[in-house]
């Protein structure tokens, strides 16, 4: 009994440890301007205002970088999911020459240290005249997320018994019909989980966004946020409000699909 209550105390302390930065981000964002930069001890906010959110929202660059981030991320992830699912179906449902090597290629590509490809990517985008162009980021994020999407979706397709598809085909569906009517709906949760994980990867990306884009109109949200302090002094209330706005979409997605994501990422690892 004592052991269990001790464990619970540790659990609560850990929960506070994980929660504190989120708490601090939100309360700092809600504090009136000026009250963040006093030497008073202010663990609990005594007066609350939303003006920091208004400030962050109307800062030059916030809305455009939010739009850029959303556009780049959505296009890249959509492309990676479409290309990934066709590859996953091929890997999982067909026997053909070279299948094994292709599956290994996907596995290895998934582990490629992308950051080490900064220089060739930079030179390549320059040669393609895509430097200073958002489509360079679309291509990079597509490439980063594709092997992951294909690999994870393969795991999800493997989890759907092929017999179901075969039964549909016996009942007169074509192969495409069987896939569309049987496999695709069952694949739904896996598709959602995979795309959210890919979304978060691209949503977070900083290095390539910083290197391939110089002009402020084309900045993505991470790069904009990293420049927040230098551009506007150290307006911590504003920076925290912007961080909250940046976090909310990611947090919502996470809460929806978190279980499936763990399944997807560690697929194939549990029993080695």
């Amino acid at each position: 009994m004592l052991k269990k209550s001790a464990a619970n105390v540790v659990g609560i302390v850990l929960a506070l440890f994980f929660l504190f930065p989120t708490y601090w981000m939100i309360t700092s964002a809600l504090k009136p301007k000026g009250s963040t930069i006093t030497s008073d001890y202010d663990l609990i906010p005594f007066s609350v205002t939303f003006s920091n959110f208004a400030t962050a929202w109307s800062k030059p660059g916030f809305l455009s970088s939010l739009g850029n981030s959303l556009m780049v991320t959505l296009i890249a992830v959509l492309a990676a999911i479409i290309v990934g699912i066709t590859a996953a179906v091929a890997m999982s449902r067909f026997a053909f020459r070279g299948r094994k090597s292709f599956v290994l290629l996907m596995l290895v590509a998934q582990m490629a240290p992308f950051e080490a490809l900064l220089i060739p990517m930079f030179l390549m985008m320059r040669d393609l005249q895509l430097y200073e162009h958002l489509s360079s980021l679309v291509l990079v994020y597509f490439a980063v997320t594709l092997p992951f999407c294909a690999w994870t979706l393969r795991g999800f397709v493997n989890g759907i018994p092929v017999e179901l598809e075969e039964a549909a085909m016996v009942d007169g569906c074509g192969r495409w019909g069987a896939f569309q009517k049987v496999t695709l709906p069952l694949l739904g949760p896996g598709l959602v989980a995979t795309s959210v994980f890919a979304f978060i990867t691209a949503w977070n990306e900083f290095l390539f966004a910083k290197v391939l884009i110089r002009s402020q109109d084309l900045e993505t949200l991470p790069v904009w946020l990293s420049g927040f302090q230098t551009a506007f002094g150290t307006d911590w209330g504003g920076a925290m409000a912007a961080s909250v706005l940046f976090t909310v979409p990611a947090l919502v997605f996470f809460l929806i699909v978190q279980r499936k994501m763990v399944a997807g990422v560690t697929a194939g690892a549990v029993k080695g």
Binding site: K3, V83, L118, P120, A143, W203, A269
Partner: protein, 331 residues
Amino acid sequence: MTAVKTTETAAPAGSIPPALPPAVTGGARKRRRGGAFDRALPYLLLAPALIAILWLIGWPVVSVFVTSFRQLNLGELVRGEIVWTGLDNYMTVLQDERFWEVSLRTVVFTVSVVVASVGMGLGIALLMRVLTPWVRIALQIAMLCAWAMPILASTTVYQWMFDQNYGILNKTLVQLGFDSFAGYSWFSSGSSTLSVVGLLIVWQAIPFLAFSLYAGLVGIPRDLYEAAGIDGASGWQTFRAVTWPEIRSLLLMVTFLSVLWDFKVFAQIWVFREGGPSGESTTLPVLQYLEGIAKSHFGVAAAISVLMMVILGLITFQYLRKLLQTEEGKI
């Protein structure tokens, strides 16, 4: 919080009715019917992915090797000149004391962050089994908040918490009576800066590790523990005999992933102090950025990238070999 059920490999024993076959593990089936189109179909389905990977990953990998043997500064780049210099770039890098310092720092940093986060992740996963449900749920929600925060948002929050003058950490320390922390700078040395960055990364990495390992732990059949209980095994013996063998490969997998992720950390380090003070928190990805993008020494930076991959390969070689072997058996 139930275990992972969506993939055949991750299915906990007993949770899937035996009527379903272990769905086509690596599930290829021969289809003899059909003509040329059917035989071409898998290749058609693969073609977009294959082309994209060869073009956007394969070519850059080749290109980084090729570039590392060229003299390529801004001048050559603008003029489109190709100047081969053999091993000069590597000589420049390897003879630079700073490179060895930075490499050593990167490896030490990676290993410390991985050990800390995997160790704590496993500890929390084990703890979660013991907790009262509402405490467990509170802990899980707290961890989800940490996990979900975009990297740049969490980096900004940590900068604010560790702020020299108005950060909550210094304020709290002063409140507790440690007056010397008033206006204390956590970023006056490289090791202190990297410790803060490390704390941030560990804090944000633990949730994924704890959730995956917890899913693995929940999947261990109960009767194994009952049997151990009947045999009168102690807690430690049960862990050694039952828990450890069941989660070892999962633990290896998440450790390997953590090494890959932590080795190449750039955003957090750069945003904190751009590798400073005076280069003391510079790691290999930062060095590559400084040489390549800031100084436009693309050839030298490419050599650094290649060496980065070599070092990462050396750290992960054993695991990768094992993984490829088991995967090859499976697919």
